[in-house]
């Protein structure tokens, strides 16, 4: 999903950079002097973990390969603002150290994977929580992670589709090409996100208790749920 240099038209690249910078400012302002001490090592660990996980390329449809994005896990466990910062660190270093994603497309790549990929699952979880009153947590985590991957792909497709002078194939081709395969990736991302959060809930529920996203959920506010999970391990 890392868009290289030369795929995006200048106006799209600039618009994506401008939008990303707005989200960076919001995220840093929200986190400044508010990040909990116990989130610091977990933020470092999850960022390193998903950078490493992105190196594993597994086969999907038609001979193509895919890798985890990790945006949903970061958004749900760290919260959208810290998740956005974490994913941005991964993408900036991937761009400058390894040439994975173009420098002119960095704003678009951070927007797709670090903003859409992180904020969407965090917001969806909160919306589902309101509607379902905290029931079906893991189903909603799966759906949020799936939606995170597919929406990131849709946004990448839209950016490429609107870059007609450069990509010159239009919106329909660009979006459909991205969405079909990323639906498969979304299923895998959903499963991994559910397994990761369920594992943490069993082994280290205290890690999740600092999550701005999860602690707002009724499931976690009912402390018995967390105690039961950790006690049953």
């Amino acid at each position: 999903m890392h868009i290289p240099d030369g795929f995006l038209s200048l106006p799209i690249a600039i618009a994506a950079f401008a939008t990303t910078i707005v989200f960076w400012i919001i995220s840093f302002r929200k986190l400044k002097n508010s990040l909990d001490e116990r989130q610091v090592p977990i933020m470092g660990l999850l960022t390193a973990l998903f950078f490493a996980a992105q190196m594993i390329n597994y086969p999907i449809l038609g001979g193509t390969t895919a890798h985890l994005l990790g945006g949903a896990s970061l958004g749900i466990i760290l919260g959208p603002y810290a998740g956005c910062v974490s994913m941005s660190i991964i993408l900036v270093l991937q761009c400058f150290l390894f040439g994975d994603g173009g420098i002119t497309a960095l704003g678009a790549n951070v927007f797709n994977m670090g903003v859409v990929g992180v904020f969407v699952p965090a917001l969806l979880i909160l919306a589902f929580n309101k509607v379902t009153k905290g029931r079906g947590l893991f189903a909603w985590i799966f759906i949020s992670a799936f939606a995170s991957d597919v929406l990131s792909a849709i946004f990448a497709g839209v950016e490429l589709g609107f870059s007609v002078p450069t990509f010159h194939y239009g919106l329909n081709i660009a979006v459909s090409a991205m969405v079909i395969n990323h639906s498969v990736i979304g299923v895998i991302e959903g499963i991994v996100t559910v397994v990761l959060i369920a594992t943490l809930l069993k082994l280290r529920p205290d890690v999740l208790s600092k999550s701005p996203t999860l602690k707002a959920l009724q499931f976690f506010q009912a402390s018995n749920n967390v105690e039961q999970w950790s006690a049953s391990s």
Binding site: A48, I103, Y169
Partner: protein, 103 residues
């Protein structure tokens, strides 16, 4: 209270050590087993006849050390990069954490 803080910090160190070991395993698996990458975007671009270009010459293109064509070299590079990302994130997170808290 102090004992509780030490317990939490030690537990964090243990969790972080295990997590970094798992990340190192991911790097090894990603470089030695599941290293072949052909992403959807690359395939579609090739099919449509669109080619990307790299404006900036990255020091380690395609996650390899130039002139060192060895998968274990890529593993070492991957682990070093993973530790760099861990360190950079810790520095950024420490700058952002609540004042008066030391991790």
């Amino acid at each position: 209270m102090k004992g509780k803080e030490d317990f939490v910090n030690n537990l964090n160190r243990k969790t972080v050590a295990i997590g970094l070991a798992v990340a190192a395993v991911f790097v090894v698996v990603g470089n030695l087993v599941f290293s072949y990458a052909l992403e959807t975007l690359d395939v579609q671009a090739e099919r449509l006849g669109v080619s990307g270009e790299s404006i900036l010459d990255a020091p380690f293109p395609e996650y390899t050390i130039p002139g060192f064509d060895n998968a274990w070299g890529s593993v070492l590079l991957g682990i070093a990069s993973m530790l760099l990302i861990f360190t950079v994130t810790l520095v950024v997170a420490n700058l952002l954490k609540k004042k008066g808290q030391d991790s």
